[in-house]
Structures are given as structure tokens and as C-alpha cells.
Symmetry: C2
Subunit: 495 residues, 2 copies
Amino acid sequence: MPKEEIINLALRRNLFFPAAEIYSSALAGFWDFGPIGTRMRQKVISFWRKNLVEKEGFLEIDGAQILPEAVFKASGHLTSFNDPVVQCKKCHSIHRADKLIEEVTGKEVPESMALNKFNEFIAKNKVKCPKDEGELGEVKSFNMMMKTEIGATGNNPGYLRPETCQSIFLDFLRLYKTSRVNLPLGISQEGKSFRNEISPRNTLLRAREFNQMETEIFFNPKKINEFDKFDEVKKYELNLFLLKDKKVHSVSCEKAVKEKIVSGKLIAYYLARTQQLYEAYGIKKSEMRFRELKEEARAFYSKETWDFEVNTDLGWIELIACNYRTDYDLKAHGTESKKSMIVKEESGEEFIPHVFELSIGVDRTFYVVLDHAFRKEKRGEEERIYLDLHPLLAPYFVAVFPLMKKDGLQEKAEEIVSVLRSNGFEVLFDEKGSIGKRYARVDEIGLPYCLTIDYDSIEKNDVTLRERNSMKQIRIPIKELPLKLWNLFNEKESI
Amino acid sequence: MPKEEIINLALRRNLFFPAAEIYSSALAGFWDFGPIGTRMRQKVISFWRKNLVEKEGFLEIDGAQILPEAVFKASGHLTSFNDPVVQCKKCHSIHRADKLIEEVTGKEVPESMALNKFNEFIAKNKVKCPKDEGELGEVKSFNMMMKTEIGATGNNPGYLRPETCQSIFLDFLRLYKTSRVNLPLGISQEGKSFRNEISPRNTLLRAREFNQMETEIFFNPKKINEFDKFDEVKKYELNLFLLKDKKVHSVSCEKAVKEKIVSGKLIAYYLARTQQLYEAYGIKKSEMRFRELKEEARAFYSKETWDFEVNTDLGWIELIACNYRTDYDLKAHGTESKKSMIVKEESGEEFIPHVFELSIGVDRTFYVVLDHAFRKEKRGEEERIYLDLHPLLAPYFVAVFPLMKKDGLQEKAEEIVSVLRSNGFEVLFDEKGSIGKRYARVDEIGLPYCLTIDYDSIEKNDVTLRERNSMKQIRIPIKELPLKLWNLFNEKESI
């Protein structure tokens, strides 16, 4: 769907909107989520928790967002987590060099290219400031970490984490030693990360404060192919966008391992689970791909990277970085903290575990789920908008509408709401406006079902049940409602 | 329970532990939550969401943690959110002046006392540094806001929010205008806040990064006593610790309003709901109180404050600030942003809404829930530890233990786990160690029930069901398990 449709819907229904928007000095790249948006985004997270973390038996932690300097010295972020920036000599505006080059010349250059190569490219191609055609200065390296001071002494910096995973590396040893678990061991975390982006844009797609749901899977590198669960996915086909011909190939997990397209069974297995998760989120398989990254495009800690991307009208959007981080992080923290990160398996083998990472963007996933669920249909003169959301992603499962506030209809409706809530259903109650308007309002936030209570309801003890996508309506006795809704929720029947 | 017991349990079972603990430079006042702690803390939050936010029909938002300078200029935090600090001239250690005075002299002084009064007090009482008896310098004002730089220009500060509620004030107008709601309107938010405390201490009780669950209730000040729901609580008794005699009084909501102990029905109602919430959390009514704060002890924005406190071996711990913030915040943001915060009611009346706030500490609540659920019992020679937690606060509802890994017991147990999970139960599976050890492990993290699968289970298709508190055991047919557990979960029967 066009970006404008999503943004209009977001602002109209308070899904998300700029933080501190009443101020002209509001900072770019920070977003607030309104009541409906908060519920939907929480569901994007709980969907991941249920369908990946719990199914795979990962442990979930919740770590501090501010960490000491030593952590990011060890991780390499203080020296390597940089963007190339360039300033216009005339208007003094600051740009990200790679994005500016792409915007002005249409050519893609890797953000990790050496600074002198950037300067050469700009000189050779006579790239100017897109705002005022001003001459550009030297390309410099800009560190994206956000720093603050802790305590009152003035020499105790803390850094806002740029990725949630560092806590996982820091806590690994404690959890491994005390949780009585064996490798491979997956540890997950959902939470905020912060990056001082030069040019935040496309709302949730490039923000400075955003949520991630990350998993680090720790394993014995010699046993990357000793992975029993692999059999469950071996015939499952991954959409791999390969460097060799820049095309998407449907490759079974079995073939990906056999032909060494991926480093081993463990990695193929989790790529499959990731792709399945996004199919469950409601993204068509044809609209998703894992893009193979060449060495210079990979993060500084990664040996093998697959960017999981979903197609939108803004192009292919990266939602997940699947990084084979090897023992880079544990080794680095072990050296810096002088703690041994060596584990000993029952066989007696001693080693520093390797790590495969699934680093998922929560807000990007939320955006893409909205984008792919968005439907606009002509109905005669009128247009109808609805979100075709999975029941587990809808902000509420069912809406309850009394036709009128009077004649006992409101009371009857409230009674039904109370029964449904006590049965565990998430119910939205709305008594304002015409029934048509109420349908339209809940359609565009993706509620799967509506119940209308009318005069017949009082006489015959039944209600109208309406399904969102088909707009089909049936009458159903009130006493059968909980079971019927339960079966609909679990997709055991349809209306 | 003694603090040491809670900390030992927390470290032993990874409920919480210092962030970046492998580093000697780890920052004080930052905590990570391990797998069990993360689940329990999430449940503390969802318990609030279910029992307060949803029941009261509050809207829940999720706002950015970093906000621009103008927000905190308007809110008063940049000038008034200060602690008095004092440095030892000898060892250069920095202390919070009020805490140091309390520690050294045993006398309580308000943190908001004027700086010259602090200096006078220190001189008069000859207060020295508790570390090395060194002379103390001048008491200074230290601002607790954490600041960072946004963008690359170097003149665009952002501040980590010191309370979640500012986003609520900033978003109020948008939500009020577009959500088709009337006043009183409650808006809630759960999330991180950051305060650069001089002396973080007592683990989660005074941390620099912590979670809050806040609600701001916006209302027409002339209608503070037009509040129909008040009738539901009018006979309910509040534990009010009153300034007049520094004693706890059991006062019905009706009486508190009539005798003007509180400013009106709306406030009495939410104090009652708050106290009821903590009764539901498992705190005895006799161990909780609302402490009336005199003017100089109140936050700078509050007209009436009740600190909700719970008794522990560390003394009375403040968990909630209940502040009547009046129109302080909306007015301040209206002035600073030049946006009118005036709302117009159907009657035509125009005014800036007043606000009553329930500002709850998540981590403090989590700590106190642990503290009050902690049980240590002598059983002959041995001691038994368990957490007497409400089923909704336990990390899992039931554990499943196969007696042995062999002879099909493990498979049988896994089958039962799978059936229970598909019925929506949260199940912990543990197959390691003796049954006695496994019982002890889940007792101390508060699992209400355990199931043991033994040889009889295979023959007779039944299992042992054990209840945590009584340790009572019964045999129950496997096919009856889901319904039995459902009834136990909903406290419709006991074993």
C-alpha cells in the first residue's frame, strides 16, 4: 500500500504519531503509539513470543538499556558503529553520505565504504547538496551511539544500547551456568534500542528510538550440523536472494545446507522458522526474501548475513538481520572483562560458543504487518478500508454495538460484553454513531468480528454477528456466542 | 522478609542481577532480569493492566523515552528536579545531603529543604563524611535528568524521561479530540524512566533505570464530586496515615470525602481502587498505608499527595505517588508550546482539565510482591522456601515432571505438556534431578501446581497433582487435567 495510506490511517486512528508533536522543537525519529497502536504493537511482540520464543524454548531476558563504556568498547560500537556524514558548505545541513549519493545520483554505495572512496566518488560525480546545490565538505565518520552521564562526578559515561543483544552476551555465562541447560541455547530479548541516525525517515522504518526482538543462539561450532530439529524443515523452501545472480531462488533447507549456501543445518533451520513466522504474520511468501550480504555490506561482527526483507511500495524493507556473529562478541567481552567465556560440554570439549542471531525490528514488523493487511475496496460510490489482520494481531477480537442507547439495548449490550470478557475475549464497546460508521471504524483497525444488539435481540435473545472481510452477517443466539467466538478465534469454523 | 533472603533468591534463580556484572566498571543502579524474573515482572505489569487499566476503561499509550528540551523546560524538571548533594573535602565522595544527614544523625530532613538550611544544619550538627570523617563542602543542587545529544549538530539535546507521564500530557489533546471520549478520561502508560540518582541502593528499590506504570486521570475540577462509580467504594476503608497524629486511620471513602481528608470523590475512588489492587497483589491490608504528605515534602507540581507505602523489613517503602497535579502540566505545556489546552464540554463550559495521578513503580511492586510472598518453613531438619504467589503472578501455572527419563515416562510427560499448552496453560517442563529437588526449585519461584508422571501414569493414565502451599498431593486421571487445572486457576475448587 502507498505509504500515505498507512500514515493517514496511523494519524486518523492514533496508531502512531510524532512524539511531543505539540512542540515545534519535536525531535525527528521519535514516535508515540496511541491506544489502538499500543495494543497492536504489543500483539506483534506477543505473536513473536508465542510463535518463536516459546515454541523454540528460548529463554527471555530483560536487560538494562544503559550500559557502561567498557561494554561498547569491547563490542566495537564505539569505534565501528559509524555512518559516513557530509556537510554542505553553503547551508550547513548534514547528510548521510551514502543516502545523499543515492538520492542525487541514483547509485548505491555501501555505507561501510572507506571515507576517501566517498570523497573520490563525490568529486568524480560532482555530487552537490540536494537542498541548495552547495558544495560538499569532507566526508566524516559519525558515531551513532547516544551517550549520557551517570552519577555526579562527570567521568562516568553510560551509553544507550544500539542493539538489545549486548545484554544477552553479558548475561550468557550466568544463565548457562545456572540454568542447567545444554547448547544450543537460545536467549531472546525484546526492548528499546537507540541510534543517533543522521536522517530518520519513513516514520517507523528509520527511527532513532525503536524496539527490537532479538535472539542469540549459542552453539558448538563443530556441531552446527548436529541439529535434530532440522528434519522438520528440510523440505521447506527458503526464498533466497543470492549475490551470484541477484535473483530470488526457492531453495529447500536441505539443498541450502548441501550446497553450502548457508553455513549449516542450525542456520537453515532458524531461517526457515523466521520465514514461517512472517507467513503467520500475514505476509505472502512471494513478498519476502532473505538477501545475501557480501562482506563489505555486513556488520563488522558478522561472518554470514541474511537480511530478511519484505516488499512494500517503498521497495524491499529490511526487517531482520540474520547474522552469524561467530564467537566475536563473547570473545571480545571475555578479553575486556577478563572473564573466561569458555564452556565445557559433557564430552569434555572446551570452547567459546558461536552465535547465530535473529535481530528483528518490532516497529518495522508492525509497519509491514499494517501495510500488507491494508485493503481498500470500491463499493459502488464509496470506498471501504479494512485491515485483514490475523485474530492474534487485531487490537480486539470483537466489537459490541447496541443499535440504540435507549430501550434497554445498551444494558443488554453491556451484559454481553461482560459475559464475553469473563470468557477471556478482548472486546471493544462502542455505542456512538450509526451502525455503518461503527462498522467502518472497527474495520479499519482490523477487528475480525462485530456484534450488533437490536430490538429483536431483546425479544429473541439473539444478535447479529458480522465478519470483517466478507461483511457476511448471521443471527446467532446469545447463549451460543462464547463457544461460537471461541471456534472462530481458533479458526475451527467460519460464519 | 529480610532483604538478604530476597537478594539471595534473586541471584540464585536469576530473577534479577546487576547489569553488565562481568565488568568491574558496571554502573550502579542498573539491573537485568533473567528468564524467570522477566516472566514474573511481565505478570506484575499485566496484572495492573487487567485489574486497573482495563477495568477502569483507561486508554493505554506507549510514548518515546527521549523527549526534547522544551518538554522538560515546561514541566519544570530542568529547574526543579534536583537532589541536594554534598561532597567530602577529603575523599571527594559525593553524597545526597538528606540521606547523609539521616544516616549520620538519624534525623529526617525533607529533600526539598532550601540549600542554606542544609548548610546550617550540617554546621550546627557538625555532620562529617561517614566514610572518613572528612569535612563536608557546600550543599549544591544536582539535576537528576539524563541528557544526550540528538543529531550531528551538537545543539539538539534530548532528555531521557524521568517519569512516563509527560507523554500522556503531550498526547492528551490529540486523544481527547479524536477518541470521542468524555471526561473524566484516564490515560495510562507502562515503560522505562531514568533518574540520575546520586546513591542508588536496595537493588530495585532505588535504581537509575526503572519501569513505571502511570495513569493520569483528566477531569473537570468542578465535577470532582460528580462521580457515579464512587458508590461502589463508599463503604470501603482506606488506610490513611495522617499528618495530624502520624497514625494510620481506617477511614471509609465516604468519610474521607465528607471530612475533606481528600479533595473529592474522584480521588477517594481511585485511592480505593489502588488499595484493592495491592490487596489483589497479595499484600495484607494491615501492611499498607497512604501517607499524607505535607506541602514541603510534595513534588513541585502537586497540590495533594498520598504516598502509598508497603511495610517491609527495610521499613515502609513508597510504591506509588498519588498526586493531585491540578492543571499544572497541561497549562505549562500549553504556554510553552503555544497550543491551547482548553477543552469544551457539551454544556459549553470551557476549562483546562485537572489531573489526578497514580504513579506506580513496577520494580518496587515486583520487589514487594516477592517480599510478601516469601515463606520459609522448618520441616524437621530442613528448611523449605516457597513463594505464595497469586496464580496470575506466578511465572508458570504448573510444572510437569517425568519421574524418569526412560521407559516412556518422558514421552508421556511431553504429551501432557503439549495438551496443557494447547489449552492455554503456561507450563514448565523439568526432567532433571530428584523429584524432591524439582519440587523445591519450582516452590521457590512460586509455581502453584506440579504434576508428576510415574510408572502408574502409564498403566492407569493418571498423574500426581501437588499443590504448592499445602504440599497436598492427589492422583488425577490425565483426561480430567485440563478442566481440573482450569478450575484451580479460576479458584473455583481446590485440590
